[in-house]
C-alpha cells in the first residue's frame, strides 16, 4: 500500500493549503492510479478490447453487406421506374438507406428489409425484402459494440466500486483517511471521480480500437454522424456512472469486501443478464403474440375477395367490344397495345372501378397489418417496461435511437412512404389518370391497329391457315411491343410526378424519443448516489476487531 501512504501524505499537505475540491482531486487521482494498476481493470480491459475488435469487424462486414443490398435495390428501383409504360404499371420502389452507425450499434438494421413498393393498390406497411434469416441463429442476441461495452464495462464499473468503501474499511485505511478530517462527501465524490475517469479511459481505448477497425476497413462516417457518436458516448458514460453508483451503494451497505463483491456480482447478473430476458419472455404472457401465419392467411383472403369483386364487376360489364391487340398483364397493372377505341373505353371503365376497389382493399389490408404490428409493439413496450429497472435496457434504447438504427427510424421511413403514396394518389386524381387511356395503354396517339380488319381473334378463325398467320403476326407484334418498351419508346411522362424527398429521422426527434430513458439513467445515478452518500455519512469507519483476521 505504498501509493496509499503517499496519498495520505499528499492529503495532509493539501488539506491545509487548498480548498475542499483539491482534496477531491487528490483522492480521485489516487483512486485512478489504483484502478489502472489493478489486475481486474487490466483483465477486463483486455477482454473488452478484444471483443470490441471482433464486434466492430463483424459490424463492418454486416454494414458492407447491407450497403451492397441497398445499392442493388436502388438500381433495381431506377430500372423499374424506367420500364413502366402505363400508369397502372407505375409503382415506384423506395429504398431506405443504411445507417452507417450500425457498425457501433446494430439495432434493428439487419433484421428488417429496406425496400418498399408504393402503388395504387398497396399502402406501405412492411418491407418487401425482410430477411428470413437462418434459423440456427435465432437464439443469439446481438453482439455489437454497444452490447459489449454495456456488458463488459458495466461489469468493470461494478468491480471498481464494490470495495470502494468496504475494502478500505477492511484494510483499515478508511479510518486513516478520516483522521485527516476529510469530509465524507469529499471521499465519496473523489472515489466516484477516480472510478469514472478510469471507466472513461477504458471506454476511450475501446472506441479507439473501434475507430481504427473502421478506418482500416475503409468505412468513413459522414460528418453529420459525429454529433450522434458524441451523444452515444455520453449515453454510455451515464450508463457506466449508474453502474458505478450501484456498486458504490452495495459497497456502503455491506461490511466485508467478500460480501460486497458477491452482492455486486448478483446485482450485475440480475440487471444486465437476467432481467431483460425474463421481461421479454414474460411480456409474451401479458400481450399474447399475434401469429404472422394467420395474418398472411387473412391478407390472402382479402386479396381473393378483391379479385372476386373485381371479376363480378367485369362480368356485369358484359363482353368487351371485339378488336385485336397485344395485352401484357403485369404484376399489378396492365399494358395494352393496338386495340380499338371502343375496346379501350370498355377496359377503362373496368380498370377505373378496379383502381377504386384496390384502394379500398389497400386500406383494409393496411389496417389489418397495422393491428398486427401494434400488438407486437405493445408487447415490446411491455417487455421494456418490465425491465425498466435494468440500466442496460435503457442504454440499448438510447443507443438505437442515437445511431439511427431503431425501430422508430424504420417507421419514420414507412410514414414518409405512406405520405408519398398519398401525394401520388392525389396526383392521379388531379390528372384523372385512373380514367385516362394512359392508365392501361402505352399506344402513342394515333396508332393504327396493324391487325387485318377482316379476321378477329374473338371469332373462331375460318381456317387453320388463318389461325396460323394470325398467331405469327401476334408473335411478331408482341416482340415489337416488348422491344419498344425496352428501348424507351413507350415511356411514361414521369417528370411531373411528385418526388419522394426523405430525410432520415433528425437527431432532435431521436433525442425526444429517448428522453424518458435518459431520465431513468440519470435517476438511477442520483438515487444510488444519494443513498450511498446518506448511508456513508453514518458509516462506521472503524474495523471491528471480531471481523476477519
Amino acid at each position: 500500500m505504498n501509493g496509499m501512504d503517499e496519498a495520505q501524505a499528499d492529503f495532509s499537505k493539501v488539506t491545509r493549503t487548498a480548498g475542499a475540491l483539491s482534496v477531491v482531486r487528490a483522492i480521485a487521482a489516487r483512486e485512478l492510479r489504483d484502478h489502472l494498476v489493478s489486475a481486474r481493470f487490466r483483465l477486463i480491459l483486455v477482454t473488452t478490447l478484444a471483443l470490441v475488435l471482433l464486434s466492430t469487424l463483424a459490424g463492418t462486414f454486416n454494414y458492407r453487406a447491407q450497403a451492397e443490398q441497398y445499392e442493388t435495390a436502388l438500381e433495381r428501383a431506377r430500372q423499374k421506374l424506367r420500364e413502366a409504360t402505363t400508369w397502372s404499371e407505375f409503382q415506384p420502389i423506395l429504398v431506405r438507406a443504411v445507417a452507417p452507425l450500425m457498425i457501433l450499434n446494430a439495432g434493428f438494421e439487419t433484421r428488417d428489409g429496406r425496400v418498399v413498393i408504393v402503388s395504387n393498390n398497396q399502402i406501405p406497411a412492411t418491407t418487401e425484402d425482410a430477411p428470413a434469416g437462418t434459423p440456427y441463429l435465432a437464439r443469439f442476441s446481438e453482439f455489437d459494440v454497444t452490447t459489449v461495452l454495456g456488458d463488459m464495462l458495466g461489469l468493470l464499473a461494478v468491480l471498481l466500486s464494490f470495495d470502494a468503501v468496504s475494502g478500505e474499511r477492511e484494510r483499515g485505511t478508511l479510518a486513516l483517511s478520516f483522521s485527516n478530517s476529510l469530509a465524507r462527501w469529499q471521499v465519496i465524490f473523489g472515489k466516484y471521480l477516480g472510478g469514472i475517469l478510469a471507466l472513461a479511459l477504458a471506454l476511450a481505448a475501446s472506441l479507439l480500437i473501434a475507430l481504427i477497425v473502421c478506418f482500416i476497413s475503409r468505412v468513413h462516417f459522414p460528418g453529420a454522424e459525429w454529433p450522434r457518436i458524441a451523444l452515444w458516448i455520453l449515453a454510455i458514460l451515464i450508463y457506466l456512472s449508474a453502474m458505478f453508483w450501484i456498486g458504490m451503494l452495495i459497497s456502503v451497505l455491506t461490511r466485508r469486501t467478500s460480501s460486497s463483491l458477491l452482492a455486486a456480482m448478483i446485482a450485475w447478473f440480475a440487471l444486465v443478464i437476467f432481467i431483460p430476458v425474463v421481461a421479454a419472455f414474460a411480456a409474451r404472457q401479458v400481450v399474447r403474440s399475434p401469429s404472422s401465419y394467420m395474418l398472411y392467411r387473412e391478407l390472402a383472403g382479402l386479396n381473393e375477395e378483391l379479385e372476386q369483386r373485381s371479376a363480378d364487376f367485369k362480368k356485369s360489364l358484359g363482353a368487351p367490344p371485339e378488336s385485336e391487340g397485344i395485352s401484357i398483364s403485369l404484376e399489378q397493372g396492365v399494358s395494352m397495345s393496338f386495340y380499338s377505341p371502343e375496346t379501350y373505353s370498355w377496359w377503362i371503365k373496368y380498370y377505373a372501378r378496379r383502381a377504386q376497389m384496390e384502394r379500398e382493399y389497400a386500406l383494409k389490408i393496411y389496417n389489418r397489418i397495422k393491428e398486427f404490428q401494434d400488438r407486437n409493439r405493445t408487447q415490446a413496450e411491455r417487455a421494456f417496461n418490465l425491465s425498466a429497472l435494468s440500466p442496460v435496457v435503457h442504454l440499448e434504447r438510447v443507443a438505437d435511437e442515437l445511431t439511427g438504427t431503431s425501430r422508430d427510424d424504420a417507421y419514420y421511413f414507412m410514414d414518409a412512404a405512406r405520405q408519398y403514396r398519398q401525394s401520388l394518389i392525389d396526383f392521379y386524381d388531379a390528372n384523372h389518370l385512373t380514367t385516362s387511356l394512359r392508365w392501361i395503354t402505352d399506344d402513342p396517339p394515333g396508332t393504327e391497329s396493324p391487325f387485318p380488319k377482316e379476321t378477329s381473334l374473338g371469332k373462331k378463325a375460318n381456317t387453320e391457315e388463318d389461325t396460323r398467320s394470325e398467331t405469327e403476326l401476334g408473335k411478331k407484334l408482341y416482340a415489337q411491343v416488348l422491344a419498344e418498351r425496352e428501348s424507351g419508346k413507350r415511356v411514361l411522362p414521369i417528370n411531373e410526378i411528385p418526388q419522394f424527398n426523405y430525410q432520415p429521422q433528425s437527431l432532435n426527434r431521436a433525442i425526444s424519443k429517448i428522453f424518458s430513458s435518459i431520465a431513468a439513467l440519470i435517476l438511477i445515478n442520483l438515487l444510488c448516489a444519494a443513498a450511498a452518500y446518506l448511508k456513508f455519512r453514518r458509516y462506521d469507519v472503524r474495523r471491528k476487531r471480531a471481523e476477519g483476521v
Binding site: L43, I44, T47, L51, L54, S55, L57, G59, F61, N62, A65, Q69, T72, A73, F108, R111, D112, A130, P131, A132, T134, P135, Y136, L137, R139, F140, S141, E142, F143, D144, L155, S258, L261, L262, M265, I266, A270, F274, P276, V278, A280, A282, A283, R284, Q285, S289, S291, S292, Y293, M294, R297, E304, Q373, N376, Q379, T471, K475, Y478, G548, V549
Partner: protein
C-alpha cells in the same frame, strides 16, 4: 466425511446467497411454465390451422388428378390457389425444457410440386423487440444455475482458510480428497434439489395452464437431460473448488471465477457466433431471388407469354405428333423447378455450413456442449429442423409419385405435367392422398445425436474434478501473510 458434508449443507442453506438463488430460479421456472403453456397453445393453433388448410386444399384438388399437381405449384399455379402449400410440424412437446429455435417460429415449409421445398417462418417472432434468448430450462441452467454454482462454491476452501477453520476441518480423520468430495457433493446436492423443485414448479404451471401433455418417453428425455444438467453444473463446482484451493483471498477467487464464467458462458459463444456471422457469409434471400430471376426470368416470360403457342387447344391435333410441343413445355418447366430447388438447396447448405462452424465454436465451452447436447437429447433445435426437412422431402417424393401413378391409371390422359387439360381429369379419393405426418426423432436417435456432446462434458468434468483434487492436496492450510 459426512460431517463435513452436512455442515456445508447447513451453512449454505442458511446463507443469503442461497436464498437469493432459490428465489431467482424458482421465479424464472414458474414464469417459464406459464408463458410456455400459452406459447404451446398458440403454436398448436397455428399448426392445426396449417393442417386444416392443407387438407382443405387436398380435398378440393382431389376432383381432378391434374389439380393435385397444378394447385401446388407456385410457379405455374393456375386457378384460385396459386400459392405454395404450407406444411408444419406440431410444436415440440419439450417446449418448456428447451425450445431450441422454435418458440419464435413454427417449423414449416412451402412446398412446390413436385419437390421444391423452402423453409418458411410461420412464427410468433416479434420483430419489434430486441433479440433475447428464450427463458427455457436449458437457458435457466446454462446461464443462471452455472452462475449460482459458482456463487455457492467459490469460497468453500479459501473462505475456510480466511476464517482459519481449514486446519480444523482437515483434522477430521479423512483424506483431503474426501474433504473436497464432501464439499463438492454438498453443493451438488443443493443444486440437484433446486433443479428438482424448479422443474416440478414449471411442469405443474405448464400442465395446469394447458401445455401439451408429456408421454413416458418425454419424461425419459427429461431424466437424461437432468443428467446433463448435473454434469454441466458439476463442472462449474469443480472449477470453483479448483480456484478456491489456489486463491489467496475469497474476493480473488470470485473475481477469477466470474471472468471464467463470462468467458465460457457469454464471450466465447456470443463473440464466436458474431465473428462467424461476419466472416462466413451465407447466401441471402436477395441473392437467391436474384439468381432465380437471372436464370429464369426470360424463360418464364417466354413460357407464360407464349403458352398458347406451346400448348395446342385442340388435343387431337397435338396427338398427331405425340404432344411434342407440350412435352417440350413440360420439360422446360420441370427444368425450371429443378433450378429453383437447386438454388434453395444451395442456400440451405450455406446456412448449414455456417451453423456447423458456429456449433464447433460453441463446443469449445461446456456451455455450448450443454446447449447442443440438451437440444439433441430433447429432440429440438437443429437436429429436429433437419429431421423435419428430410421428412418433408420424403413426403414430397411420395406425393409426386402418387400423382404420377394416378395419372398413369387414366388411359385418356396424355400424361403431361404442368399443362392444364393434358393430365388426367379423373377424381381421386381424398382419403388416399398421402398426407404429411411428422414423426418426432426417436429417443434412440436423440441419444445417438447427443452422445458426443455428453461424452465431452463427462470428460471435462473428470479433468476439472481431478485438477481440483490435485490442487486441494497441495493447498496451503493457513493464510500466508
Amino acid at each position: 466425511m459426512s460431517a463435513i458434508y452436512w455442515r456445508e449443507i447447513r451453512d449454505l442453506l442458511k446463507s443469503a446467497r442461497f436464498r437469493i438463488a432459490v428465489c431467482l430460479f424458482l421465479i424464472g421456472m414458474t414464469v417459464n411454465g406459464f408463458v410456455m403453456s400459452s406459447a404451446y397453445q398458440d403454436l398448436l393453433r397455428m399448426h392445426n390451422d396449417v393442417e386444416l388448410s392443407a387438407s382443405e386444399r387436398f380435398r378440393e384438388s382431389a376432383s381432378h388428378v391434374e389439380l393435385l399437381a397444378i394447385n401446388f405449384n407456385e410457379v405455374f399455379g393456375s386457378g384460385g390457389h396459386s400459392e405454395a402449400l404450407n406444411l408444419s410440424a406440431p410444436p415440440p412437446r419439450m417446449l418448456p425444457v428447451a425450445s431450441g429455435t422454435e418458440l419464435g417460429r413454427l417449423l414449416g415449409v412451402e412446398y412446390n410440386f413436385p419437390n421444391a421445398v423452402q423453409p418458411g417462418d410461420l412464427g410468433l417472432s416479434n420483430e419489434e423487440m430486441p433479440v433475447r434468448p428464450v427463458l427455457d430450462w436449458e437457458f435457466m441452467v446454462r446461464i443462471l444455475l452455472s452462475f449460482i454454482a459458482i456463487i455457492l462454491s467459490y469460497d468453500l476452501i479459501v473462505g475456510e482458510r480466511e476464517r482459519g477453520t481449514l486446519a480444523l476441518t482437515l483434522a477430521y480423520p479423512v483424506s483431503r480428497r474426501r474433504v473436497l468430495l464432501a464439499k463438492f457433493a454438498a453443493v451438488m446436492t443443493l443444486l440437484a434439489w433446486l433443479l428438482l423443485a424448479g422443474s416440478i414448479l414449471s411442469v405443474l404451471a405448464y400442465l395446469t395452464r394447458g401445455g401439451g401433455a408429456f408421454s413416458a418417453s418425454d419424461y425419459a428425455r427429461m431424466l437424461l437431460f437432468a443428467l446433463g444438467e448435473i454434469l454441466y453444473l458439476a463442472i462449474f463446482v469443480a472449477v470453483s473448488l479448483l480456484v478456491s484451493s489456489r486463491a489467496s483471498a475469497s474476493t480473488y477467487s470470485l473475481t477469477a471465477l466470474l471472468i471464467f464464467w463470462i468467458a465460457v458462458v457469454v464471450v466465447i459463444p456470443q463473440g464466436g457466433t458474431a465473428a462467424v456471422q461476419g466472416f462466413v457469409r451465407t447466401v441471402s434471400d436477395v441473392q437467391v431471388e436474384q439468381k432465380i430471376m437471372r436464370q429464369l426470368e426470360d424463360q418464364v416470360n417466354e413460357l407464360v407469354g407464349e403458352m398458347d403457342s406451346f400448348i395446342r387447344s385442340d388435343m387431337n391435333e397435338a396427338r398427331k405428333d405425340d404432344f411434342a410441343s407440350e412435352r417440350n413445355y413440360a420439360r422446360r418447366v420441370n427444368q425450371m423447378i429443378t433450378t429453383i430447388k437447386t438454388t434453395l438447396d444451395e442456400q440451405q447448405a450455406s446456412h448449414r455450413r455456417q451453423a456447423r462452424i458456429i456449433q464447433n465454436i460453441l463446443r469449445l465451452t461446456p456451455a455450448g456442449l450443454f446447449q447442443l447436447g440438451s437440444e439433441r437429447i430433447l429432440g429440438v433445435g437443429d437436429t429436429r429442423e433437419e429431421h423435419f426437412l428430410q421428412a418433408v422431402d420424403k413426403w414430397a417424393e411420395g406425393y409426386a409419385r402418387f400423382v404420377q401413378e394416378q395419372d398413369r391409371l387414366d388411359p385418356q390422359s396424355p400424361h403431361i405435367f404442368y399443362v392444364q387439360n393434358y393430365m388426367s381429369q379423373r377424381a381421386v379419393d381424398p382419403a388416399t392422398i398421402p398426407r404429411f405426418q411428422f414423426e418426432e426423432l426417436s429417443l434412440k436417435e436423440s441419444l445417438k445425436n447427443a452422445l458426443f456432446d455428453w461424452a465431452l462434458l463427462i470428460f471435462e468434468l473428470i479433468v476439472a474434478l481431478s485438477l481440483s483434487i490435485v490442487a486441494f492436496e497441495r493447498a496451503p492450510v493457513s493464510k500466508t501473510v
